[in-house]
Symmetry: D2
Subunit: 265 residues, 4 copies
């Protein structure tokens, strides 16, 4: 093993997760590449990341099974004994109003957005305190949580609960570990350069893809958020040691005002 | 069956739930008396309530088992075909910090404070809309959620999620059904008159009972909240048809400022 | 002088203020009838109110001149030595975006919505504490402050500051005096029965009168707020002694979701 | 004149303002050095700043006189025709509870924290739009506004109103100009290296200087905020073009939990 610090981005084989892993690899971090079902994408991304002269550890795990996730993560921590940065990014975006959401949908959203991230934080922070090594947590939130959208009720309520998790964890993990979040708005299509991991990324709360929208309707700054603006926010949070419990809205201002494309939700 | 309207208060055999059932019985409502393990208290309360010349229907159900609660509630709705007011009151108050909460604790708090109330709302509102009959929902929140307390992390996060449920449900159930909440602060000992149901009630987030506190330290109004002030708030919300999605802080002002007794949390 | 308690509603000769004065008169309160320029309306209303067998004291004062309002209020308190309830209701609703608001507009909005109410609270609460007599304050807020509307910037910012005033005053005036607010949404046309004080009332942040709107577009409850629902909220806040620092949204749920009629703002 | 971009920090001769001016000068910006009464400090700082090979324009102006500030700023804009970054930093920190604040105190706090910044934003943004040149605004807020402190009521209410100004201005000035804020907590003593501008900086809402506090009582991260962490936040906001209407808490987490030193307020 080299001496480079390890990063774990959950849901790291696709979309924003894959992009972040590429940026971390470029900046010299080793990667725990987490995926659930996207084995093909994960293997392809692993090859790309290794070209940056870093180590990649594949970790297949289902965040919708919190009863097994604790043990799976303990096993991981035995093999990768120190992870400096955990990014809770994995997410599901299914339609479903409050009155029609099934119990299975409610529970999978809570598991993936709240309970499993909580368990990962517990295990990681306990180890960091025990080892007395630096450690940091960043949750990926959603700028549109600032408005009450009803089309994805299980998503909305579980992600709002994740915001509370961010704040309470910031208090509980201080002073050793800082816990923050970024809340992306409508993100530019992620055509990750030099990769097959090309995919369209948009706001989970929207029913339209960004391609269908006029630029001026996206947010008050009238610009899709470039993925680079998310990574610069993560780097900033990593380096500024006076910040904890903060959610950064990287969204062209959509947290301030219902963007027109959300109105029918 | 008489023609009186039915009310369901979850966790209705003890503490605030028992008090509310008594007030509803006095004001001429029939009662679905829900309990989980408190069979003794429930049977005693049933006898008392029936003295007010109303009907009482006992409903034993475990809100920590959402997988069965849907069916149990459907069965109830067949026997009590129209419930006009649902009060989601049942609660658990276990100690446990964010880093030490067990998975079982996290999940039971989510089940009892969020998922089961959500399922009850779904079934009740669908029926009310179908029957085109009046229906209303009031959640029992907690004034101290306004501050970030860490001693009962699973309680805190799941009850905050219930606040989001209140707001989203208010939108989703409008215009037919209104959904509101009351957030009690430190409540006066509930010595329910003429009953064996005497019990001490205090703030779930406090580690002290109200008997241990000087009056001036309880909240800025320096008064324990009388139970009658909770009931008057519920009556007000029931009668004012312009209010939905509102949480009423009935707390002597403790949502405004950390009460001294909470500081060690 | 009779022994009835005195109430002061600022801006009491027209619209919501006139309605509240009528309801207070009916319920046996003496009225300090405040007006600025509406002398004709004030004199007509005085005659009507006196029919309810209560006393009316006319008080002409310009809340846009805080430098004189202190002295004017001291003079009033010499003649009406104990006012039990102050309702800060006076308001101005001029168009003006943040970039085009004139200094005069910014300052008059701050004077009328923030500074003068603050000075009235100071004088009244000091006297109530000195006299050891009951006293209460209710500010009239606006449900649409929950969203960031830009068409009346000076109104918006000064009324938001009034919300902070409500909360800080609740702490500072406790335990002797409670300070709360109600936030009306789109209010029904006030055709005050049996009076000449008939006037159309709507949301200050809207550019449309309520007559121009389809009922379903007004708010999620699809109903204009009856004035009686405002008065019942004021009565509730007056009687429930465990509530302070609370703003009650009496708005058909418009604080939860941008009502369609506001979108162009 | 050189071609370097101009920056204006209000209250730029002392404390945080002086520090920021030094950092901007080091990074190659020209400085409009604003002061009110601190002429001695301003002249000394001007000499230091010019050593970095940039231009310094002294601007004496009283932000407590909004009636003259418009004209004074127009005159400035004629001489320094394009300011790329305005930092509303000037502040007053006088003691005074809500019940004892004088009218003069209320008005000076509103003038300095709200009205004059508002007027500066109006003039600057209009010019930037007209010239079609880049422009940005950052307000200096206060992390402790997250809690309701009562010892400096006029400060508290006017600074909270400035938060609303930040959000409304972000909407109104989009997409051309971004408006954000940073909210410092308890800041490390500013012993600005190589200067005579040495001064102790602390939280305006605290009655203690930072020297009197144990490190562990300052905030949950148990560290005084280094001034460099404020500057890095300003640089981040300047460079990330997807962020507007955001307040960054640079405070060791004190917005999350009442720091012990604030409790007596």
């Amino acid at each position: 093993m080299n001496n480079k610090p390890w990063v774990l981005v959950t849901g790291g084989a696709k979309r924003i997760g894959a992009y972040l892993n590429q940026e971390f690899a470029k900046s010299g971090k080793n990667i725990v590449l987490h995926y659930h079902q996207a084995e093909t994408e994960a293997l392809a991304l692993k090859t790309q990341l290794e070209a940056f002269n870093i180590e990649v550890f594949l970790w297949q795990a289902n965040l919708n099974e919190p009863a097994t996730i604790e043990q799976r993560f303990e096993e991981l921590l035995k093999q990768v004994p120190h992870i400096e940065l955990l990014i809770n990014n994995a997410s599901v975006f299914e339609q479903g109003s409050l009155l029609t959401s099934s119990l299975a949908q409610i529970q999978s959203n809570l598991n993936i957005h709240l309970t499993s991230p909580w368990l990962l934080i517990q295990a990681l922070v306990k180890q960091a305190i025990k080892q007395n090594k630096p450690c940091q947590i960043i949750n990926i939130s959603d700028a549109n949580l600032s408005h009450l959208y009803t089309s994805k009720a299980a998503y909305f309520i579980s992600k709002k609960a994740q915001e509370t998790l961010t704040e309470l964890a910031a208090i509980e993990c201080a002073p050793h570990v800082r816990v923050n979040a970024i809340a992306p708005g409508f993100v530019l299509e992620a055509t990750v350069a030099d990769t097959e991991v090309s995919t369209q990324i948009s706001s989970p709360l929207s029913s339209k893809s960004s391609a269908q929208l006029a630029t001026k309707d996206i947010n008050i700054l009238q610009r899709k958020v470039p993925l680079a603006d998310l990574f610069s926010a993560i780097e900033f949070l990593s380096k500024n040691h006076s910040i904890t419990g903060q959610t950064l809205q990287i969204d062209g201002g959509s947290h301030l005002q219902c963007p027109p494309y959300m109105l029918k939700n």
